[in-house]
Amino acid sequence: MTDLRYEAPGSLSAAVALLSDAKGLARVMAGGTDVIVQMEMDLIEPELIVDIKKIPELRGVSPEDGGFRVGAATTGMQLCDHAAFAAAWPGVIDGVKLIGSIQVKGRASMGGNLCNASPGADSVPPMIAAGAVARVVGPDGVRDVPVEQIPTGPGKTSLARGEIISSFFFPPRAKGSGDAYMRFTPRTEMDIAVTGVAINLTLDASGLCTAARVAIGAVAPTALLVREAGEALVGTKVDDAAIEKLVAAVRAACRPIDDKRGTKAFRIEVTGVLARRVALAALERARATP
């Protein structure tokens, strides 16, 4: 076994340099709730761990251009406790709240949840529905990438060698907007999604839906943005007929596997059921906003 090297740089440029220069397997660690478990279970044997929690801009939530910038290593508990963010993006909070126990949320981050690239990651569908954009910093500079373009398959991302997600940008919230995320699990807590649906929608003063984004998780190799499902709601009052179209669109987009958590047929069926419930929850939140 090679010696593991632990580094906790204080700047992004130092972190990028460490990752770029690594000889063997290098892993970025934020909360470590996936990386440490994978090391403990001998699934990975990294030569280098780059702990990014000491980099100031990777922690915390700040207002930016009418929206929010969230450091990629901001913990779940920090995010849930941020009153303004939680009020603007309750659907994102729905997802973050479902990431493990209170103990795990004391460490785990959305950046880690995304980069671990589990198809069932609970914070990813609501981030996609929100239109969140990841800021990627690497040896060739900085690029902004929509969250849905980061995961490419189970455990795989589009990040190049040496690249780190430093933060997420959540766009300004239009009046009359609401979002929600729900998942199906056999237990209410401490479980992994069998399927999950996130919807973010905006209503005009007359209650007409002017924008909608729908994302599904755990029913394909990555979380998916389902454009047709959002389009099914736009221009409607999110009535029964529109919701029927939404349900059909999300079921058509599902490409699940059969596994111990659920069969393909079950996952497709339940994703439709969840889509209906999530649409109604997002609608209620949108109507409740001033």
Binding site: M1, D3, L4, R5, Y6, A8, G31, G32, T33, I36, V37, M39, E40, M41, I49, D51, K53, T75, M77, G100, S101, I102, Q103, V104, G106, R107, E189, M190
Partner: protein
């Protein structure tokens, strides 16, 4: 494997420790500092037996590297009683049979302490959700939850 020097504060006492990079905070607490009150259940963050409070945040000691503990302040079960006086949670667990075999108990007590510091008057549902990450293989959940509620009431002076 090369060892690295860290200093950390545990329950108000400063410690020096030599740690290997792959060791968890749990390993450091139990094997280096000989503070064995914090238990290892799963070592993968699922059971909560190793719950500790680090810089005010409840977490699993198995999900943190010892190397990360440089300069942190850790609260463990050993720091809960003040001298010979048990914490109200500990008293309630004894009086109301909040434990059976006891292996989950240190983690449950530390987690419950963190809850009551944040929310002195939790509902039963809030206690159950907060402690969802603390598994009790004896399945003695009901008395454990009731003990937390009784201690909370006591601490509020109600």
């Amino acid at each position: 494997m090369k060892k690295h020097h860290i200093t950390l504060n545990v329950n108000g006492d400063d410690y020096d420790a030599l740690v290997e990079p792959q060791q968890s905070l749990l390993d450091v607490l139990r094997d280096t500092l000989m503070l064995t009150g914090t238990k290892e259940g799963c070592a993968t963050g699922d059971c909560g037996a190793c719950s500790v409070i680090v810089d005010g945040v409840l977490q699993c000691a198995c999900l943190m590297l010892g190397m990360e503990a440089e300069g942190v302040r850790v609260e463990t079960i050993e720091g809960m009683a003040q001298g010979g006086d048990l914490h109200p949670l500990q008293k309630a667990f004894l009086t109301h049979n909040g434990l059976q075999c006891g292996i989950c108990t240190p983690g449950v007590l530390v987690a419950a302490k963190a809850l009551l510091e944040r929310n002195p008057d939790p509902t039963e549902t809030e206690v159950r959700y907060w402690l969802a990450g603390n598994l009790c293989r004896c399945t003695g959940y009901d008395k454990l939850i009731q003990s937390v509620l009784i201690a909370a009431k006591e601490m509020r002076g109600a």
